[in-house]
Amino acid sequence: MLLEALRLALNTVFRNKLRSFLTVLGIVIGVASVIAMVTVGQGSTAQVQSDVASLGSNLLMLRPGEAGRGPGGSSADAPPLTLQDLTALTRDIPDIVQAAPVAAKLQSVVAGEMNHSVMVTGTDNAYFDIRGWTLAYGRPFSEGELRTGAPVCILGTTTSADLLGQGNPVGTTIRVGKISCDVIGLLAKREASTFGQDDNDTVVIPLRAMQRRILGKSDMQSISITFREGARAEDVTAQIQSLMRERRHITANMNDDFNVFDMKQISSMLTGITGVLTGLLSAVAAISLLVGGIGIMNIMLVSVTERTREIGIRMAVGATEMQVLMQFLVEAIVLSLIGGAIGILVGLGLGAVGSYALNIGFVPDYRLILASFAFSAVVGVVFGFFPARRAARLDPIEALRHQ
């Protein structure tokens, strides 16, 4: 009997293709938006997590200025960090393995005809370890180069390829901002991008060279710190804070004028933001599903009215209330499932396009797909029930007389 109801429902639905399609459009839009948004949301969350993982574990960042909300807090009036701070950190806190200064600025780099805008980082050799870089060609900075701030640079593969083509760039000279730089090394290519930026598009020069030749002042924006495996980020942070308060002469009643940022926090922070966004958008999608359900109910009510005589005939030949109810309920469910299926396909399509556009991984979640399908069925049951019951409760005599 259920099979008959299903066959009948499919016949009815496909007999009126355009109308059926318009009926399920609401469901299609609802399901498609849920799938697309959650897929992109999950993709970006996964992306954030892998980005943070690629930053390296046990990584802290010390910056001047009060703690802000993210890695770009305010550093306006706070006194800058110094190389003495750096030395003190590694010397006085045993949990700290390495610390590297970072002073970065966007510069245009030129080689021959090729021109390229790239973030140039002034630092020392510890930076490579901390950020997990290895050299494909050439050598790290020498003691002398670091001390004097010699105009030498190490390139990322993307920068190198853009400026000089594939291959070993060591020995060539490029212009970084206003200075002429000898290329002494090439970083090994890394299959990662941090928050949408290609890691391999980078130029690294000695800190001194950055300060003297590009920034024109002895500033550094931050100190990247790795700590010992097994130590807790909170403990190390506390030690850094007490050391820095002492060094910067901060008295007990004053706030820190520097901040320590645990890179892992980016993960939870961005995941949180993504979660809120996903939740909000899902609420919007739920509303469109509701509207879709009402659309189905509306058309089913029209259909019951149009088919009153048919219902009368079925009752006359012996259909019970339950059988008439099932017929219309199954039809509503078939409609909403078709809507759900189309919505899932459209949503996955949009999700794929969105993921591609945002340059994040496309991670379709089969649980979400199953849930959407189940939810469509529920919408069909909920919004199909009232029209179906109305059909089942019809008086056969009245129904047969209906024009």
Partner: protein
């Protein structure tokens, strides 16, 4: 003595309330035996359709009893009456009442679907019923592709496909011309004669009533006369 196929005992059907009360049926008693062919006549509004609806278990009386095969079916609920219709009754309507956009064969199959007959057997029996009404070649036609007389014959096939004991026909020839009406009457008479079907038929036309064995006339909700059809019995 076996019980009559159907029996009405002091049956009344009242529509409306108080001042506006209408006795559509007023203390009707009637008994029909298996194998009879009864014509129901009477002026418009005399209660013929009301009686047919109650006999067909589509409606319930206000008071009185209705016995089908000797069993009181007056107090049955909607679903129980649906089951009675499904297994024991066949309907033929003035307006044919076929499902549009559905082939003749599928229309005839419909009652068997509700009986839960498997698809292959359904098709066989529906085709058989169509053959009985002379529409072998029209199985795949939709109602809109059939003439009125053919549509009514499909409806008859649908009514007999479940092999019910009783056929209820409310003005089956009301929408047909005389020649077509005669064909339908001959078909009903033949089914009555050859298959032993009990037939109750409402008609306004004496010519059509002439095919029946017995003519019951209603007037103002009461049975005015109940006679054997002399013409047939004389023959």
């Amino acid at each position: 003595m076996t019980a009559p196929m159907l029996e009405l005992r002091h049956l009344s059907k009242i529509y409306g309330q108080d001042e506006a009360r209408v006795f559509a049926l007023d203390d009707v008693s009637l008994s029909v035996d298996k194998g009879e062919f009864v014509a129901v006549m009477g002026p418009s509004g005399s209660g013929k359709s009301t009686a047919m609806n109650i006999l067909g278990c589509l409606d319930t009386p206000t008071s009185g009893q209705y016995l089908l095969y000797g069993t009181d079916v007056t107090g049955l609920d909607r679903d129980q009456r649906a089951l009675l219709r499904r297994h024991f009754l066949g309907f033929i309507f003035q307006g044919f009442n076929l499902l549009p956009r559905t082939t003749a064969l599928e229309n005839v199959e419909l009652p068997l679907i509700y009986q839960g007959v498997p698809a292959s057997e359904r098709r066989l029996r529906a085709a058989e019923a169509l053959a009985k009404v002379g529409l072998e070649g029209r199985a795949d036609h939709r109602p809109s592709e059939l003439s009125g007389g053919q549509q009514q014959r499909v409806a008859i096939a649908r009514a007999i496909v479940t092999r019910p004991g009783l056929i209820l026909a409310d003005e089956p020839t009301g929408n047909l011309d005389t020649a077509r009406s005669r064909e339908i009457m001959e078909l009903l008479a033949q089914l009555n004669r050859d298959e032993g079907l009990t037939v109750l038929m409402v008609t306004h036309e004496a010519d059509m009533a002439a095919y029946a064995h017995r003519i019951v006339t209603f007037l103002d909700g009461r049975i005015h006369s109940d006679q054997k059809n002399e013409a047939i019995h004389a023959a």
